[in-house]
């Protein structure tokens, strides 16, 4: 029985132009929706697969505002059995602070007999892009950590993970308990079923407060890269542009 904790983060679903709040500390949320990163959707899928393969449970956790309940319910809808919200304004939390808060929940649950054999996170958050929460969490807990893998399976108390390395597909085998961070691409996240959605609505979410004051992220302010005026040269319209395109490719030495 493998119990899995999967950590997610509510992030802006920014596709087009972004604007900042007047204090330059965050994205202006009036014009964006929210989601979790693609890496984390895959981590949730892996958590559910690993847990259900041998009768364990998948628990989803986030540190974020009360609205992050929405992202927790999405994970419950696709098979997570329990959810935890550490309610906090994430802007004041650096990656080390987040790792400490997750570790505090893991240790508090362990004291109640709820242990996690495997902890999954995304490789990096889509918004802050810190690339380090999973590793800092592993150090807090004194557990081994495998980083940036696409698949993970558990058998006989060992997690086997595969990821793309410099020289090819790399395999890691680590004894549980362990921490693993996930990249998109190894599994296809499932869609919630009707019954899954119903269950997600009814599941009580464990609400917690942070255990300490955050050290902070060091953020001074956000800025937008200077807007570059468009300097595009339109070579033509439709298939008639082919001659101009190939002339350009030849000038660039790309087409022979």
């Amino acid at each position: 029985m493998t119990n899995v904790l999967v950590c997610i983060k509510r992030v802006p679903d920014a596709a087009g132009e972004v604007t900042l709040t007047s204090d330059a500390q965050a994205l202006d949320a009036r014009f964006v929706g929210f989601t979790v990163s693609a890496h984390e959707s895959c981590a949730v899928e892996l958590a559910v697969r690993v847990a259900t393969a041998d009768g364990g449970t998948a628990t989803v956790l986030t540190l974020g505002p009360s609205d992050a309940v929405e992202q927790l319910r999405s994970a419950l809808g696709v098979g997570a059995a329990a959810a935890v919200l550490v309610e906090a304004d994430t802007i004041g939390f650096g990656p080390a602070d987040v790792a400490k808060e997750i570790a505090a929940v893991v240790n508090a649950h362990a004291a109640e007999g709820r242990t996690y054999d495997l902890i999954l996170l995304g490789n990096d958050a889509a918004d802050t892009g810190d690339f380090q929460v999973g590793i800092r969490l592993a150090h807090e807990l004194g557990r081994p950590v495998v980083n940036g893998v696409r698949t993970v399976e558990v058998a006989g108390g060992v997690a086997t993970a595969h990821g793309d390395g410099i020289d090819g597909v790399e395999t890691y085998e680590v004894p549980l308990p362990a921490v693993v961070t996930v990249l998109e691409g190894g599994v296809e996240p499932r869609y919630p079923s009707i019954t899954g959605r119903m269950k997600a609505k009814k599941t009580k979410i464990e609400m917690l407060a942070p255990t300490g004051d955050p050290h902070g992220s060091g953020r001074v302010r956000l800025t937008l890269p200077p807007a570059q005026p468009s300097t595009v040269e339109v070579l033509g319209t439709g298939p008639e542009a082919a001659a101009a395109v190939v002339a350009l490719l030849q000038r660039m030495g790309v087409a022979r």
């Binding site: 590793i135 950590v145 980083n147 090819g168 790399e170 395999t171 362990a178 953020r219 082919a242």
Partner: protein
């Protein structure tokens, strides 16, 4: 003193490592300290000594031992940390690659200091080596920049790919001194390490990120059967094929072809995105292309307005016409 974690490939230091050394040199000019490099595992890096010397590196520390026979983030961080301590470096820089990020994150956790990921510039180095340092780094896949205060020492930062161009030092520099050493690695850091590596087929291994020409295709392909034209164009130009996230999400093409924030980041001489609107997630992966030739039906699509050149039209018509024109000129 600045220490740079250097990754090596078949022909020496990787391009991003040389960019990182270039970045370190600019930081050294402000902080008045020499730049040293650390290489972990592998053969004696004699070839690097001259190469890194030209990039202004004064000494290369090569850490070897049984612990480094297979890659592990914790063990590698111990190697870098051992050198940092020996030379008392106040700054440790790594390329913003998966390994660069992983190694510095371990070091940051161990030393309980922050690590700034994907730094593009040092905004303010303060009055001296111990003063506050403000760095600018990419967040939200580079769509937004964050100014981050680094008040603790050592300062750990990874340098975003192509934040600077790799350049030799202005003065002809002597080869770097080579120093061989070993490092004591704790048992827990040997638990998570690579136990096997399966080489991938030649056409997959890094072709997308190293090819000087990349042809891209997005939603405009219309379906899994809409890629014949771009596949042929890629063949004609000896280019790699990349796709947008929507294409892999819909299962039209495999994930390893994805360009973007959660896929590959490319920096070719020429990128030809076809039927790709250019959402933030995709732009994060292709922004450092030198020249972009966009083919799109929408003249207001971000990919078109940000491109160097554009053709306004349906890729299903335009791409086959380009292919035919290339073949016609060849015959």
């Amino acid at each position: 003193m600045i220490l740079v974690f250097v990754e090596t490939g078949a022909t020496g230091a990787t391009e991003v490592s040389l960019e990182c050394a270039t970045f370190a040199r600019a930081l050294a000019d402000r902080t008045d300290g020499p730049v040293h490099a650390v290489v972990v595992g592998g053969e004696r890096p004699d070839v690097l000594v001259g190469e890194l010397g030209r990039y202004g590196v004064a000494a290369v520390h090569h850490v070897t031992g049984d612990a480094f026979s297979a890659y592990g983030g914790g063990a590698w961080a111990t190697a870098v940390g051992t050198v940092r301590e020996a030379i008392d470096a106040d700054y440790v820089l790594a390329p913003g690659t998966p390994r660069g990020m992983e190694v510095l994150a371990h070091l940051g956790a161990r030393l309980d200091v922050p690590m700034a990921a994907n730094v593009v510039a040092v905004t303010d180095s303060g009055a001296n080596e111990t003063g506050p340092l403000v760095v600018t780094r990419q967040v939200l896949g580079g769509a937004v920049l964050e100014e981050m205060n680094m008040s603790e020492r050592p300062v750990l930062l990874t340098v975003a790919g192509h934040a600077v161009e790799a350049r030799h030092a202005a003065d002809p520099a002597p080869p770097a001194a080579l120093r061989e050493l070993t490092a004591e690695v704790a048992d827990i850091d040997l638990v998570a390490r690579v136990t096997a590596t399966e080489p991938v087929e030649a056409d997959r291994s890094g072709a997308l990120t190293s090819s000087p020409v990349v042809v891209g295709a997005g939603r405009g392909a219309g379906g899994p059967d809409g890629f014949d034209g771009v596949v042929e164009l890629a063949e004609l130009l000896d280019a790699a094929l990349g796709v947008s996230r929507v294409v892999t999400s819909l299962g039209w093409r495999p994930h390893h072809e994805q360009i973007g924030q959660t896929g590959s980041r490319i920096s070719p001489e020429l990128y030809i995105p076809c039927g790709i609107s250019g959402a933030i997630q995709h732009w994060a992966g292709c922004a450092s292309s030198k020249t972009i030739l966009a083919i799109n039906t929408d003249e207001n699509a971000p990919m078109v307005t940000k491109a160097t050149y554009a053709v306004i039209g349906d890729m299903a018509e335009v791409v086959p016409a380009i292919n035919a024109e290339i073949r016609r000129r060849r015959s």
